[in-house]
Symmetry: C2
Subunit: 374 residues, 2 copies
Amino acid sequence: KSQFDPATHPHRRFNPLTNEHVLVSPHRNKRPWLGQVEPPQPSNLPQYDPNCYLCPGNTRAGGRKTDIYNDTLIFENDFAAVLPPPGPAAPSAPHPLLQTEPVQGGCDVLIFHPRHDLTLARLSLPDIRKVIDEWCKIYLQRGREEGIAYVQIFENKGAMMGCSNPHPHGQVWSLSIVPTLPATEIKNLKNYALTTTLESSAPRGPYGRACMLCEYVHFEVGVESESGRVVTKNEHWVALVPWWAVWPFEILPVLPYKRHISSITSLTDEGKDSFAQILSTVTKRYDNLFACSFAYSMGIHQRPLPRPEGSEGEDEDDVAHLHLHFAPPLLRSASVRKFLVGFELMAEPQRDLTPEQAAQRLRSCSDVHYLDVD
Amino acid sequence: KSQFDPATHPHRRFNPLTNEHVLVSPHRNKRPWLGQVEPPQPSNLPQYDPNCYLCPGNTRAGGRKTDIYNDTLIFENDFAAVLPPPGPAAPSAPHPLLQTEPVQGGCDVLIFHPRHDLTLARLSLPDIRKVIDEWCKIYLQRGREEGIAYVQIFENKGAMMGCSNPHPHGQVWSLSIVPTLPATEIKNLKNYALTTTLESSAPRGPYGRACMLCEYVHFEVGVESESGRVVTKNEHWVALVPWWAVWPFEILPVLPYKRHISSITSLTDEGKDSFAQILSTVTKRYDNLFACSFAYSMGIHQRPLPRPEGSEGEDEDDVAHLHLHFAPPLLRSASVRKFLVGFELMAEPQRDLTPEQAAQRLRSCSDVHYLDVD
Ligand SMILES: O=P(O)(O)O[C@H]1O[C@H](CO)[C@@H](O)[C@H](O)[C@H]1O
Ligand SMILES: O=P(O)(O)O[C@H]1O[C@H](CO)[C@@H](O)[C@H](O)[C@H]1O
């Protein structure tokens, strides 16, 4: 009987953050693609577009004006998914299976830079650092508003990821509830902390307990040459294709071996510069992979809320370990994506190349943006 | 303080099949859409396309020939996601967090009809019935093969749902494991059966225990005029937009009030005709909603495997209640879809109209296909 080879034999891997499996079918990438081809991402965008509602001084769809700004700009979404608290109380359920839970909160838009034609991949490190500082500011501000239980920072990039404007920007949704996915992750991190006795020298979470992500990353970085899932790392951060990646070139950058960090506001100044640097490298390599402006959804997972003002020491919410997820759809080229449909929606996510193969491809990409070569 | 109104106030609803929430932001549908516009679905397709590898007698990408057929045709996928059992044993895990589980099985393609230009929405009831009979056959055949633990029947329809060929067809993936989503549903159905004492007159699951879906549908059909989530029903089947729908026009057709049915092979002849009829009505209304060939992913959830040959009476797997999920992406028109990205991928699915509004729209669609009018 033959030896098991992950690059030949279909298998599934377990995601301990979500308790879900992914089916890996490495040989499947060879099949011919006859399906939908994505339109090319716009290139040669102007630095200023008079029709872009995010360019400085222009008018938005709701009639409001976007301020003139020099660096970043944050403003309330004109079409927010939630309304500010307080709201009316929940109606009584007509049946135990039909529960309604009112949700309040606020939605903000964060413009990364005044120039219409740039993206994170093409911003300077100081400019990315300004975006990180804005994230810290809004996380603290929204997270300390009355009635808010969770702040989600994210970015949709590229038309194929539902982004309606190429002007570099992200969003921040602050809600009166902790949404499904972060709630699940935090539950699993808590459970790991309470049930695992570690023998490794990985950093620990709060109360000296085991942290699943510290432990996982400690292993990946320690056996880097063996496992081959690390894409890049610097003084504080590591970016890797996780063992359980679903999207073809999914990346999970985490704060690694140095210490357990539960939110962006716990980063030192140096840790924030290091964060800017890894964001720059990851997004550059993404663009270089297929020589295009690489589409993705990105989100920051951390403590649901910042530590209360003036608090000292740790609390239960510090079980969260700051990390970002990048979910990019492209699979084979700038125009051929992976569709997570059919089997994926009805049964289980399935991928066509191994995470190790994906990491290998991303490792071999240059750190110089393809548009800046020459 | 104002009254809670589900069509005005953002709220979340709980999906008891998956233990996940969906955020409902009904007012959000008013925002202008400046994002990606989907290319039109092909219309005026030929009845036979010499370049289509699913048309009778044509050659496929792998070099094999598609048989000449008159009704349906089933064959093994040339680029299967899994390989037949047995396979090599699992390698030992380099770390407890990095588990590998080998998966074996088979992938089949089921062509619904020889005509290239038809879809379920345009097939006659007897032709849809033939598809249902094929589903029963392959479910029995694959489900009784050595080493198979689960059979997933599904259809990807439309380029926007990753379908590479408009020729009407679906897929069947048979695996040595029970995938994440059906495993979760079955766990939740079991849990409901073991912990719920019913007072309603809904049908019961195996061993006289409560069935979550029987109970849910009994409630929806009983208060039909009130709840407004039922789209259409016939003698045996009901199609409704579930309370917890994620996709804009998601439909969950279930076998309703008459009795608890755990798989398609337990349907009577009449139940199968009734199934064909509701499939026809649902897909016609979908096409009529935006006057286009409506894209979706569809999947059948039922017992992981058919009852063992010759077995009598019920067993624990009968806790499953046969149902189909339709996940269609279109939101506002034939060319504007909902993107489940960003917040949805990082936090929680979010929808822009209430399930009741979606059901209302689908109820007002005609049962006569728009291409057959005149
Ligand atoms: O097998 P197909 O139709 O070529 O491929 C399609 O369906 C599969 C199963 O849902 C998905 O994994 C693919 O991403 C999708 O493009
Ligand atoms: O708010 P936007 O960018 O217009 O909209 C985009 O992001 C939202 C949050 O991820 C999604 O709900 C929308 O489907 C998507 O089109």
